[in-house]
């Protein structure tokens, strides 16, 4: 069977991706609080949050980031990724219960490395809500395998 994954050479700078949407539910937030142990009032105390600038509980920033990572895998054929090496990320606005988010990504740069069998692909990613507002954005660096190691 041939390898269907996309290698470093197959991914051009400027290529864009858009994922399906996903509605973030109260269940997602409660499960993520349980998993992470982050029970900050921002995410878990509905009464306290009525008095806040948000007016209600909001999703953990890292939950939005992680859901975005999951959505991205549904936006393209898998890359021949060797490692997720880093990111620079901004939280621009809240994700509230019932919001539907999707990720829009673009290949920003490709960089050779000292090893000839791989390269680093930097993606610009924006997480949008149902109103088209950017709620998170940043850059992620992926170490992607080359088709040939020579």
């Amino acid at each position: 069977m041939t390898d269907q994954r996309r290698f470093f050479e197959d991914i051009p700078v400027g290529e864009e991706f858009e994922s399906p949407g996903r509605t973030v539910t109260e269940t997602d937030i409660v499960l993520f609080a349980g998993l992470s142990g982050d029970y900050n009032v921002l995410h878990t105390d509905a009464e306290f949050m009525k008095q806040s600038i948000f007016g209600e509980r909001i999703a953990h920033g890292l939950l939005g980031l992680a859901i975005q990572a999951g959505l991205f895998t549904r936006a393209t054929i898998a890359f021949a990724t060797l490692a997720f090496v880093g990111l620079r990320w901004k939280f621009k606005g809240p994700i509230k219960i019932g919001d539907t988010i999707r990720v829009r990504a673009k290949v920003l740069a490709k960089k050779e490395t000292s090893k000839p069998d791989r390269g680093v692909i930097t993606l610009d990613r924006k997480v949008l809500n149902q109103r088209g507002e950017v709620v998170q954005e940043g850059e992620t660096d992926l170490m992607v395998q080359r088709r040939r190691g020579d």
């Binding site: 999951g70 549904r74 090496v85 880093g86 620079r88």
Partner: protein, 137 residues
Amino acid sequence: MATERHYFEDVVPGEELVTPAMTITEAHVGLYQGVTGDSAVDAENVPELLPLAITTGLGWRVPRPPLAVKAFLSFEWEILEPVRVGDTIHSTSRSAMLRRMRDGGLVVKEQQIVDQRGRVVQRGRFTFLVEHRPKHP
């Protein structure tokens, strides 16, 4: 009565905090994948963002009042080494930079995730907006 909280004015520059540790299990990986739809690049390892999520929770277990975070603004993060099921991780953080602003204060924290062998597996910098101590408590 409101719970006691740690405000911008209470943050000590250079102060280092070490969290308790946690062993990462198959259950963590399964829950994480189910909730987020994200998985590890290499199935031998745990998803790269999972240790980070777990250390945010560990940070709340350091015995002192919780930081009055108004907003988690940004972070830069490097993933240096894979983490596997059965590894036990904790994090260390240091308040690196403080800047007073009108509607709060910026706190930059340098953070590392360390495994049971003492290896730094992930590291980076977080920027938080933290509330000022209220004038009339």
